[in-house]
């Protein structure tokens, strides 16, 4: 027994890929405003606020294998999506003049409206009425004004003994009120040339499922057919024509509900990175993305140029419908956005990082993108991390982006009913955007600050301001704290 013990060859020491468990807590706050809400057919408020707390836990399972679990909840409130059902039936005292109207949409309107005989479904007093009103310019109180996307992903990677080959696999799942996603993927990376060169391949598949919700007026038409104005929501509600007169001619006959509510996405990625010198390294990446299924958003309204206009609400606002002075009328949709059921997207991107000196680094990124919907885009960004000390780094950054419009895009009310595909979503329009911001990073080199047995590794703060040439503007800030065991 003793002899056999001495005859064993000791295992060579192998450094762990990851020394100890890391926990990263991330939080972001995003707020935007704009005037081209896609739910309003390319017109209306795009006000949106989103917060996303996220936890990422990375655990070394042994010397070679690392497990990462990433989970979070992205919660938003949105004026645009609230207007899937823009109509609010409110009881109001009809003594306030519309001139006094504020962001409390429709809570004030002229006495004459109640007296005119317009739909007064629950007149409980001399001047208290309930009537449906709406506007694309403000949020309604509909349930769709808020939602939460909950996600979890787990990935595992294994490095070879010589650390030159890395294999990985991942799973992903997320759920929203009207959307669910399940994804999986695998990757392979190889380092060679004394780890100066790396090539990696990755494949991912998402199998997504819409649970479509449609704009209220189209939902009712889909439910009750041609008699829908006398049933359900529209029963007792007045529809107005362009002149403000009551009519029963509104018939969105082009609308049909989507038969297929699946969306599948497959991505194949190829990356190559190379050290060029002691201070410069570059990478080139390309993805080939194929999507199929329901690629339209079921609650994006469309208004045709060759169809009459119909409204619900206060007729006195029809003339100012497309301005923010419209506090009380909403135009009824002719259809929803229709986009092809397949799309191929090819982005090609490159990074070049340069270590200028001990206090300054340059990080640059460029991407060219094209797809078979006719969009071409370019992205360029530059970040300049400046080391203020061993612990502190600040990094100002600038990003520029431009894209051409999708073949199927036209602004509010410009599409023809004879077209096969149409959208008024300005995310698919032609625009440029610029993003300016900065970040601050604190690194606790000796992990002196402890909490629950974990030492603080770093704290990051990042702020960005985004401006799009169609008027959409947003800010985002994020905070990240990483602890190590």
């Amino acid at each position: 027994m003793i002899t056999s013990g001495f005859s064993q060859t000791p295992e060579p020491y192998k450094k762990k890929v990851l020394e100890s468990t890391e926990i990263q807590s991330l939080f972001s706050y995003y707020a935007q405003q704009g005037v081209h809400g896609a739910v309003g057919g390319g017109l209306g408020s795009e006000e949106l606020v989103n917060t996303t707390p996220t936890i990422v836990v990375t655990v070394p399972l042994n010397e070679d294998v690392v497990l990462t679990v990433d989970s979070g909840i992205s919660t938003y409130t949105s004026a645009s999506s609230s207007n899937i059902n823009p109509f609010m039936s409110v009881g109001v005292l009809g003594t306030q003049a519309k001139a006094n109207s504020t962001s409390e949409v429709g809570l004030s309107r002229p006495q004459t409206w109640a007296a005119s005989g317009a739909s007064s479904s629950n007149n409980t007093g001399s001047n208290l009425v309930t009537m449906p009103i709406g506007t694309p310019w403000f949020a309604s109180s509909g349930a769709s004004r808020k939602d939460a996307l909950k996600h979890i992903s787990a990935s595992i990677s294994e490095s070879s003994d010589d650390r030159n080959t890395i294999k990985s696999a991942e799973l992903y799942a997320s759920t929203e009120y009207d959307y669910q996603s399940f994804g999986f993927g695998a990757g392979w990376a190889r380092l060679f040339n004394e780890k100066n060169t790396e090539i990696s391949l990755k494949a991912k598949v998402y199998l997504d499922q819409w649970y479509p919700i449609y704009p209220t007026e189209l939902h009712e038409y889909g439910l009750y057919g041609t008699d829908f104005l006398n049933r359900g929501y529209f029963n007792g509600v007045n529809v107005l024509n362009q002149d403000g007169q009551t009519t029963n001619a509104y018939l969105p006959s082009q609308f049909t509900e989507w038969k297929n509510s699946n969306r599948s996405s497959g991505t194949f990625s190829l990356s190559f990175s190379q050290i060029l010198s002691r201070r410069i390294q570059v990478s080139l990446s390309t993805d080939v993305v194929y999507q199929t299924g329901l690629l339209s958003t079921p609650y994006h309204r469309i208004y045709f140029k060759d169809r009459p206009n119909y409204y619900i609400g206060d007729a006195s606002f029809i003339d100012v419908y497309d301005t923010t002075k419209n506090f009380g009328v909403f135009r009824l949709a002719d259809d929803i956005e229709r986009l092809p059921e397949s799309r191929v997207k090819i982005p090609i991107g490159g990074r070049l990082n340069m270590y200028v000196n001990d206090w300054l680094t340059l990080r640059s990124f460029y991407r060219y993108y094209f797809d078979d919907w006719g969009i071409q885009a370019q992205t360029a960004s530059l970040e300049m991390p400046i080391k203020l000390s061993m612990n502190w780094t600040v990094y100002p950054s600038f990003r520029y982006y431009e894209q051409s419009a999708a073949e199927y895009f036209k602004p509010f009310g410009e599409h023809l009913s004879t077209q096969q595909f149409y959208t008024s979503d300005y995310d698919l329009s032609s625009f440029t955007s610029s993003q300016l911001g900065f970040g601050i990073s604190y690194k606790d080199i000796f992990t002196n600050i402890k909490a629950f047995g974990f030492g603080l590794k770093n704290v990051d703060f990042r702020f960005q301001h985004y401006y799009r040439s169609d008027g959409l503007e947003s800010i985002i800030y994020g905070i990240g704290v990483k602890f190590v065991q």
């Binding site: 991330l26 989103n50 996303t52 996307l149 996600h151 992903y172 997320s174 929203e176 959307y179 996603s181 994804g183 040339n193 991912k204 598949v205 998402y206 997504d208 819409w210 969306r263 996405s265 991505t267 990625s269 190379q274 050290i275 060029l276 010198s277 201070r279 570059v282 080139l284 990446s285 993305v289 999507q291 958003t297 997207k345 982005p347 090609i348 991107g349 990074r351 990082n353 270590y355 680094t361 990080r363 990124f365 993108y369 797809d371 969009i375 885009a377 080391k387 894209q403 999708a406 995310d427 955007s433 970040g439 990051d460 990042r462 960005q464 985004y466 959409l472 947003s474 994020g478 990240g480």
Partner: protein
């Protein structure tokens, strides 16, 4: 033309592997944390809203459209 351009770029970058080969002890600068050829962890949130607000996505390690109601 686009495919040809992509192939030229790949061949060009592949030829870069003949550049100076650095030993591990020479990589102090390229191993600096700021030199990582990937986006920062906090950038994931920006990439998410960019996927919604812009048509282009991908080639940066982020998502390319799956997993959310965006295109």
């Amino acid at each position: 033309m686009k495919i040809k351009g992509l192939l030229v770029a790949i061949v060009f970058l592949a030829s870069l592997s003949s550049c100076t080969v650095l030993k591990e002890y020479e990589k102090v600068y390229v191993n600096d944390e700021e030199m990582l050829l990937s986006s920062r962890s906090l950038e994931r949130f920006e990439m998410t809203f960019q996927i919604y607000r812009e048509a282009a996505a991908g080639a940066n390690g982020g998502k390319t459209g799956g997993g959310c109601g965006c295109n």
